[in-house]
Amino acid sequence: MSKKRFIRLFAVLLALSLFAAACGGSDDGDTTSPKDVPAGEIPVGGTLRIAGASDVDFMDPASMYYTLSWTLARGVFRTLVTYPAVADFEEQNVLVPDLATDVGTPNEDSSEWTFTLKDGIKFGPALGNEAVPGVTGEPITSADIKYALERVFIPSVGGGYPFYYDIMEGTDAFVAGDADEITGIETPDDKTIIFHLTEPAGDWPFRMAMPASAPVPADYAAGFDAEKDSDYDSHVVASGPYYVAEWAPEEQITLERNEEWDPDTDDVREAYVDVVDWKLGFDNDVGVQKVQGGDYEIGLDVSPQGPALEQTLADPELSKRLINEPSLCTRYVFLNTTVEPFDSLEVRQAVNWAIDRANLKTLQGGPITGDIASSIIPPGMGGYLSTDEYNPFGTDGMAGDLDKAKELMAAGGYPDGYDGELLFVGASDPPHDKYAESVRADLEALGFSNLNVKTPAFPNQYTQFYGIPDKNVAIGTSAGWCKDYNDAFTFLDPLFSGDNILESGNQNYAEIDDPAVNEAIATATKTPFGDERVAAWEEANRLATESGAWVPWTWDNETIIYSENLVNPIYNTFFSHIDWVVAGVTTAE
């Protein structure tokens, strides 16, 4: 496992924590159902104006790991397979062919996958509308996919999530510099690509839907990648319906139509709008006003929170244009199982009873920000257990039960609480400061009298504390995790597997190494896709939740606003935003 997986999480959490606090979905789901507009009624042309706050992390598909970057990638980079642009969440998770003619053919044990490329797929211009000779307008070949995956492992590129691909045969030799290529990627001809894996991976197509697998013209990019720090980032070549016409960091991103893109080869993207005009650097509240006022169509990394959300919900017009859907993220408080007294199961469970999850939810912005979590895996993901049927630390209103908690403390051998010093790390940015304070108060009530509270600026709690086991962070209150793709593997394996406790870049913050949990995760990982695998993840979810190492407290919703000019806004869970490649604008002429 590499140390990089948390990055995407930052994007999500940053967006959520700093800006999105809450979302408008009332339980009946009225405000959240996407409009199903027949394709013929969606206007073609016009400019999609996006009000954004922060910039993409990278333009390079190999490195980008923010949801907002992936939102951009949806229109600029195509992958072998992709998620369909449909409203139904179940259907969304059924991959469809994109550059490939099908969703891949596995061998018997899923350790070998074969894809065939479509005809008529071509590279577009590089960033800045640069027509690259020998690239722009030329067909995309299997070699371009191969190189894209190889460069994930080139240090100058800095791939975002190489751990999803290091099961390809020959990866180790390539990383070590003993081989010029990854032998496990076979390209018998320009149209065919075969992946030989060191272990079975039923979810391989999901990994082929992530931007890192988008084709990169080998000859062109290799020049940049040979430098110390690859500058392909500023020269990305488009394969989707749009290319990046302008990228002024922290200011502006403009996408324009890629004329080389052939709509006949693409069953997913409709690409109604001509131009995407994405302004960055908005103050959250200003951005919200702009979108709600119709100056921009979509808020990206800009969403109503606190009083703005209250206002939005109170206004029938505005609340109609609010998407509030699960983002497949879980926020949690973790307890470091290697630090006394959290090495005691009873004490961890006591904390699980003591913490007022309902208050954390209120501080986040109320029920609208998502459901209070009762276990680790969020709804919408295989392995999720609904609160009604499974709620091991459930109390009335989820406000905690201090008496029960104190009993467990006593059972764990700490009847008078614990007065040793414990490093308690939250984050300073609102509302994280409030989470920390709420948890601190709960723990104090439970008898933890000597908490050393640190609240660094977000996301330093990760980079400087949680991810470094040496720091011995006992309690972390600003942790959260989002799926990479819809399989609980992307949740439980990095976070609960004892094998994944790393010296730096650690994700298993609780440093839990519980044989039963490890076993359950391993079993589920090996189980082929289907109900059985879901059941296996459910079991792992139970065991992990009851270990008490986490106090999961919310399954976040994503709150998105759009203007009345936007037609057919469909929420896509893959990048947790409006699937804009099938949306149109009424301002089109």
């Binding site: 140390k3 590129v157 110390k228 960091p249 200003v286 977000f458 996301p459 330093n460 980079t463």
Partner: protein, 324 residues
């Protein structure tokens, strides 16, 4: 005079070096060592510089770029060398040259600083003069009380009250809709007038007090008595007073402006004006250390530059400095 200017220039240079040293100390030495740890863990400085996304490759790259594996004095030399070339560093996280970012933000900050300064001069100087001339009058007492209140009013509170009143209650102002003066002058003005007023209050109050104080002090100077004794008209006498009383205002104005041009952090933050101050504040929340470092250095340079200009201007106004 020339000699004086050269002396000031040299001194400014020394100041720049010293400031660079202080900044270097804070950012390179304090975080806990620059080099790689013995166990091979990355240099803390490089990790901080990398920002939100410290990929090992990037960290390594930064280590190399900044020469963090070299002895501290080499690093310092390299840092100074860069600073002297106007290189404020590079933000790996935002992938922008810090100097470019700063200069890009300068117009907004300058709009705020110059606009506000005009307001406070227009308020502070006349009231200060009239108060001094009508000493002990009702007007004097009133404006002095208001000045004291103004001096005591924290900008961030006043700003919030102003927003509460003008934005949410009266709806005559909208926070954070900044447009540059060249793009959209009307919009620019619409977003700037309230920040100008808010920022100007404290300064106006201070200038009022200062001008009045200077005037009173000068009024009791012997040379003003001389001016009266030789039969000058009152208007000319006042001119004599102003000449002395307002000269220091020029100095102070230059310094205040210099400091504000380095980023009016609080006001920019409250009114969401995308200036240098906001750049710094945002950099803090995204842990973008190179930007924080760069803006700090830049602001310090501005203060030193302002000092230099003010010294020279003052010298041209005050013959005692000019001819000594």
């Amino acid at each position: 005079m020339l000699q004086y200017v050269i002396r000031r220039l040299l001194w400014s240079f020394v100041m720049v070096m010293l400031v660079v040293m202080v900044v270097f100390l804070i950012f390179f030495v304090l975080p806990g060592g620059t080099g790689r740890k013995e166990d091979g863990r990355a240099s803390p400085v490089a990790v901080m510089m990398a920002g939100r996304n410290p990929r090992p490759e990037l960290v390594k790259n930064i280590e190399e770029r900044l020469g963090l594996d070299r002895p501290v004095y080499v690093q310092f030399g390299r840092y100074v060398w860069n600073a002297l070339h106007g290189d404020l560093g590079y933000s790996y996280q935002s992938q922008i040259d810090v100097r470019e970012a700063v200069f890009h933000r300068l117009p907004a900050t300058a709009s705020l600083a110059f606009g506000a300064s005009i307001v406070w001069l227009l308020i502070g100087i006349p009231i200060g003069i009239i108060s001094a001339l009508k000493r002990r009058s009702l007007l004097d007492r009133g404006s002095m009380l208001f000045a004291l209140i103004g001096v005591s009013m924290p900008t961030f509170w006043l700003g919030l009250i102003a927003i509460f009143y003008f934005d949410s209650n009266l709806n005559v102002y909208s926070v954070g809709d900044y447009a540059s003066i060249t793009d959209n002058p009307a919009q620019w003005f619409a977003t700037m007038w309230l920040p100008w007023l808010v920022l100007a209050v404290t300064f106006a109050a201070f200038y009022t007090r200062m001008v009045r104080g200077n005037m009173l002090e000068v009024q009791s100077e012997d040379y003003i008595r001389t001016a009266r004794a030789k039969g000058l008209k009152e208007r000319s006498v006042i001119r004599h007073i102003l000449r002395s009383a307002l000269t220091p205002v020029v100095t102070m104005y230059g310094l205040d402006l210099g400091i504000l041009l380095g980023g009016a952090i609080i006001t920019e933050r409250i009114f969401n004006i995308p200036g240098i101050g906001l750049l710094a504040v945002d950099a803090i929340s995204s842990s973008d250390l190179p930007i924080i470092l760069g803006t700090t250095l830049f602001a310090a340079m501005f203060v030193i530059l302002a000092n230099l200009i003010v010294d020279v201007v003052y010298a041209s106004l005050d013959p005692r400095v000019r001819y000594s």
